[in-house]
Point group: C2
């Protein structure tokens, strides 16, 4: 099977990796400004958050809205395409809740 044709791999190319699902989950819960996102996602660097947000913007999963205020305010919103991914992310959340019984702080 050509990797390009595999639908599972295609989906992973959009939301794979360590950060995208959690970023989408946060934004879907109204945590949609850069600084608040960074504070709420432990261990993510400014550079990494920027990279992930840009990739999802390019992929049409997120919209970036700039408000003409001083200082300018930037907010991220999930697009219709992004919302179609939410059932996957919610099922990931559910699975994690059911199976993560490791002691707090364990890597």
């Amino acid at each position: 099977m050509d990797i390009q044709d595999c639908p599972v791999t295609f989906t992973m190319s959009k939301i794979g990796g360590k950060w995208k699902p959690i970023i989408l989950f946060m934004i879907s819960n109204g945590i949609n400004r850069f600084g608040i996102l960074q504070r709420n996602i432990d261990g993510i660097s400014k550079q990494m958050l920027t990279k992930q947000l840009r990739e999802m913007e390019t992929d049409g999963i997120l919209n970036r809205v700039i408000y003409a205020e001083i200082p300018p305010r930037v907010e991220y919103f999930i697009t219709e395409l992004g919302f179609s991914l939410m059932p996957i992310i919610k099922s990931m959340k559910k699975w994690g809740e059911e199976h993560n019984d490791s002691p707090e702080g364990e890597g």
Copy 2:
């Protein structure tokens, strides 16, 4: 939120990355020997496939069964825990099928 406590991140730690969902999907379809897996997953190296299989074995998602034949035959099976991940992987497959209309071969 401490990243350790996030159920979405926990799930991604088990099946995140480029390869694990496609490997699990293949094995669930009876493609469960090393060589056949490698042939069916375009672009995966022997080293990478070994690494992914070992991690999933350690995480209790896969069982590795060695048959006492000459030469020894090794097959991988999805555990009960692994099966509980299949709905997530199936919803990834469905999403990919619905949204991957990019021309063949496009990266």
